[in-house]
Every structure is written in structure tokens, then in C-alpha cells.
């Protein structure tokens, strides 16, 4: 998922879908300055990691942001700070033990 977002064009596509709502490749091509085949390729990558979903309407595919994929991204951030704070608490705990041992 994170690799998928390493590409700036893919971030723009995702932001466009997020702020503008679901749309087709044709509409995306009008809003994002890359070719339709390139957009299709990027959508395939975003779809593979669960950040974008699509449904068929007649001959067209309509693409939308997959909220669960974004939630997963948020949970990464949550884990990031969780890990950092746990490491902090462990450090404080270690220094408490050291101080107690010095007293004994």
C-alpha cells in the first residue's frame, strides 16, 4: 500500500477521487495531467492495494476511494505513535529500575 502511494501521480489520482467523488477514467484524465492509459495503469496499482474500488456501469468503470483502505493507512499512523510511546515508557521504566538498584 505504501509503495503504491510513493508515486506522486497516484497520490493526485487518489486525492481527486477523494475530493471530487467517484468518476470514470475519462473524467480523471481531464483532471489529472497524464494520459488515459497511464491513469488506467495507476488505478490498477491503487486497486491492487485496496485504496480504490471500481464498478462497471455499462461499458465504463466508475472508480471510487475505498474508505477501508484509507482507514488502514490511519491505523499505520496510530501504530507509529503507539510504538514510539511504548518505547518511551519502556525507557522510563528502565531508568526507574536503575535508580532503585543504585539506592539498594
Amino acid at each position: 500500500m505504501l509503495d503504491a502511494l510513493g508515486d506522486p501521480t497516484r497520490r493526485v489520482i487518489l486525492e481527486t477521487l477523494r475530493t471530487g467523488g467517484p468518476c470514470s477514467v475519462g473524467v480523471l484524465a481531464e483532471r489529472v495531467p497524464v494520459s488515459r492509459p497511464a491513469i488506467s495503469q495507476h488505478l490498477k496499482v491503487l486497486g491492487a492495494v485496496g485504496l480504490v474500488q471500481h464498478e462497471s456501469r455499462g461499458t465504463r468503470n466508475i472508480y471510487r476511494v475505498h474508505q477501508a483502505g484509507l482507514d488502514e493507512l490511519r491505523s499505520w499512523l496510530d501504530r507509529f505513535w503507539g510504538d514510539a510511546l511504548q518505547a518511551y515508557a519502556d525507557h522510563v521504566q528502565r531508568t526507574v529500575k536503575r535508580t532503585e538498584e543504585e539506592r539498594e
Binding site: L2, P22, L70, W76, W81, L85, A87, A89, H91
Partner: protein, 149 residues
């Protein structure tokens, strides 16, 4: 039609069995001793230190053997031992920075440390900036994923 945008702040708390003064000191002056640099840094294996310059306008800087690797943020509030706030943009453009506030409060068991990560709603584009923020983590978190494997 727009997609629902989640701009709620991220809140994390931890309780440490020491007084507020000690809790603040460990957090701000001994950061390198506990911060998981191998996974939570821009330089990953190259990073060997992180230093927080304790004053308003001070920076949080990641160092490697050859000096500064990255500035993670800048302190906007410094009130030892009660709280501190800083912008947060490791590995990304400072204009897309989030805001982190850490507060230290005495409890029966020691000190409760609460970290609130917000700031995307400060910007006119709301959730959109938030998304930029999230995606700005791809490098740092990518390293984390590599490590976790």
C-alpha cells in the same frame, strides 16, 4: 458528491511511573535513548541520533554520522514540564506539516502522557491536507514495514 473525510485528531496516551518533571525530561532530553530510530526515521539504518532543541522555535532534528539527515518539525510551544507542541513533517514538505501536542499530567500512578496529532484541519482544504499528510509517511512507514517483515 464527496467522500466523507476523516479529519479527527489521533490521540495516544501512556502512563509512566515517575513524576511529571522526570517524565518530561525523559521525553524531551533523552529522546535518542528511546526513539525507535531504526524504524521511525527518515534515514533508517543511517540515523543514529534525534535531538529536540528545547525552546520555542527549536527544531527536532535527526542526525547520522555525517550530520543532519532531516528536520522533523519545529517547536511552537514549550512549557516544561507540562506540555510542548511542534509541527511534524519528517520526510515531507513542511507546508504539509501536521501538529503534535504532548501533555504531561500527574496521576495517582505517576504521569499520564498524552499525544495528540492533529493540524490537518488548520488548512482550508481540510481532509485533503490530511491525506497529503498520511501519504507523506510512505517512506518512513515503508521502512517500518520492511523492518516488520
Amino acid at each position: 458528491m464527496t467522500v466523507e473525510q476523516d479529519i479527527s485528531p489521533l490521540v495516544k496516551t501512556v502512563v509512566v511511573p515517575v513524576g511529571v518533571d522526570r517524565a518530561f525530561e525523559a521525553f524531551t532530553a533523552e529522546t535518542s535513548a528511546w526513539w525507535p530510530l531504526f524504524s521511525h526515521s527518515v534515514g533508517a539504518a543511517a540515523a543514529n541520533e534525534v535531538r529536540l532543541e528545547g525552546a520555542v522555535g527549536g527544531r527536532i532534528v535527526e542526525y547520522g554520522a555525517d550530520g543532519e539527515i532531516a528536520t522533523w518539525g519545529t517547536l511552537s510551544h514549550w512549557e516544561p514540564p507540562a506540555s510542548l507542541s511542534f509541527s511534524w513533517h519528517p520526510g515531507q514538505d513542511p507546508s504539509e506539516a501536521g501538529q503534535v501536542t504532548v501533555t504531561f499530567e500527574a496521576t495517582g500512578e505517576g504521569t499520564q502522557v498524552q499525544l495528540v496529532h492533529s493540524g490537518w484541519e488548520r488548512r482550508g482544504d481540510g481532509g485533503r491536507a490530511r491525506l497529503s499528510y498520511d501519504t507523506g509517511w510512505d517512506y518512513v512507514l515503508g521502512k517500518y514495514v520492511e523492518h516488520a517483515r
